[in-house]
């Protein structure tokens, strides 16, 4: 289920603007990796390149390679649709499909792809995914209501259920808790801890406490100034990054001296 990610010398461009330069890191399977850094340093950009969502933006492209268990995601002839079926993503703002019910939202990966599935298999998948996202008990009696009728935290967990329903190998989360209250945030952090057993998880966060709570390894990104590309400064065990980092700017950032 879970796969290893290897990023080799990745440069990311928006048109002629180089947003990220020279990122290389390895992410172990069944682990949580946090990307931290100031706004605009390219951590979300790097995250989006991992499931080729980056190129959805007009003019954006990538130089370098990302290996998923040794297979290059950016090799010639690779269909981005296939990549995205293996690497799921949860976005910053909860975005359930407004035309669909809770049940249909969970099944979106199946329904939208026109895949056939028996009613009982669908019911199983809905229950399994919602239980996986810690949402089952709250919504099991109202699976037929629109997904947009839930609270923000519930919507975000619905989006996580939707992402894990297609059983990806890797789960990417782009600031999944930034729009949520502390209780919902806690629910999602607990969920990340559980999901770690099965998935490789990469999470972008602005909240350093969150990074230190949930992640095994942490990557710190920084930017020299506006208009300059973001760079990976340090990548290490989370405990080391937060207690004894080897680079001065990392220490400044995690101790709150800037950014």
């Amino acid at each position: 289920m879970s796969k290893r990610i290897e990023i080799n010398d990745l440069d990311v461009y928006y048109g002629s603007f180089k947003a990220v330069e020279g990122v290389s890191l390895e992410i172990e399977p069944r682990s949580v990796t946090a990307f931290i850094g100031p706004s605009g340093c390219g951590k979300s950009t790097v995250l989006r390149t991992i499931n080729r969502m980056h190129e959805v933006i007009a003019g954006a492209y990538v130089d370098g390679e990302i290996l998923l268990d040794g297979a290059n995601l950016y090799g010639s002839g690779v269909d981005p649709v296939n990549v995205r079926r293996q690497i799921g993503m949860v976005f910053q703002r909860p975005n359930p499909f407004p035309t669909m019910t809770i049940r249909e939202n969970v099944l979106a990966g199946v329904l939208l792809n026109n895949r056939r599935m028996s009613k009982s298999d669908q019911d199983d998948l809905v229950e399994r995914s919602l239980r996986g996202a810690n949402l089952w008990n709250e919504v099991k009696d109202r699976l037929g209501i629109p997904g947009s009728g839930l609270s923000g935290g519930q919507q975000q967990r619905l989006c996580i259920a939707r992402a894990i329903a297609v059983s990806p190998d890797v789960l990417l989360m782009d600031e999944p808790c930034s729009a949520l209250d502390p209780i919902s945030t806690l629910a999602i952090e607990d969920l990340i801890e559980e999901l770690k057993q099965e998935y490789t998880i990469v999470i972008v966060t602005h909240n350093m406490q969150q990074a230190s709570r949930v992640s095994d390894k942490t990557a710190f990104f920084n930017i020299a100034g506006t208009g300059k590309p973001g760079k990976l400064i340090e990548y290490d065990e989370t405990t080391r990054i937060f207690s004894n980092p080897s680079v001065q700017s990392t220490e400044d950032y995690v101790s709150g001296r800037f950014g």
Partner: protein
Amino acid sequence: MTTTISAPRQAQNPLTAGQLPRWSPWATLLGALLVGAAVAGLVAGASGTQFSIVATAVIGFVLYLVAITVVSQLIEGGRKATDRFVTGLVTGAFLLALIPLVSLVITVVANGMARFDVELFTYSMRNVVGEGGGVLHAIIGTLLVTLWAAIISVPVGIFTAIYLVEYAKGRLAKAITFFVDVMTGIPSIVAGLFAYALFALFFGEGVRSGIGGAVALSLLMIPTVVRSTEEMLKLVPNDLREASLALGVPKWLTIAKVVLPTALAGIVTGVTLAVARVIGETAPLLIIAGFTTNMNYNVFEGRMMTLPVFAYNQYVSPGVQEQAYFDRAWAAALILILIVMILNIVARLIAHFFAPKAGR
């Protein structure tokens, strides 16, 4: 234990000081209109002309604006005075805009009711020279021609809009948008001449058919459909597209199953308004669909009568019993307005039932 400390209630709330009472604008308006009527009456009496309601309204309105502004300025101050002046101006403009609309509806209903009977909806004009006869052939013609125009232009328009919003980039997209905008301004007679010229190439001079009319109308309809659909597709949040793509759904399925359903209500409304815009077109149909007194269910063969052409034809070439022809023209106009109204109601119902559920 909580104790509420309340100041003794004052007989006069100090916050209402320096305010005009609520009835004052109405009283002012009534007074202004009375003065206007008096002036109009005096002028009418002095010059021996008829009493003029228009003069009463105009004088009354101007007097009202002056009076309310001055009174308000004296009692309430500058901010409120400006507010009352502009409120009066805006309401006046609204009423002025309403006059032609209401007048048109009343005229059409009043004149149209004379022949709004069962025979009108069950007979064609075949072998009718005087009274009687009906517009069934024109209703059928209008519905068929418009239906075919919609069949042609809705797919073309929606696909063009999808291309522009989801796929196009750079110069081509800009060029298409520009020419679509230019097309919205095409005079309808040009569309009719184009359709005639096109069909004359294949079927020879003097060709007349319903489908030709449909082609002419679709030329007028496509730009409207493209623009409204484009706007609706742009309103679909990018979040939804990304959510779908991130689930490994190919782009075309994302568009077909996420983007279009989300925008459906708006697209349907846009299409209906486009239909309403072309259903009353006369000039192109006069050229290419022609006119006839017979029923014709086949758009591909022969002349086809439509409601606007019928109304025009009855009006310009009345027979001996003039009034019968005029009554039929008004009745046809009334039916046309009713069809457009029904279309709008249907569009609203569809928009209501297909709109994304707001939840809870």
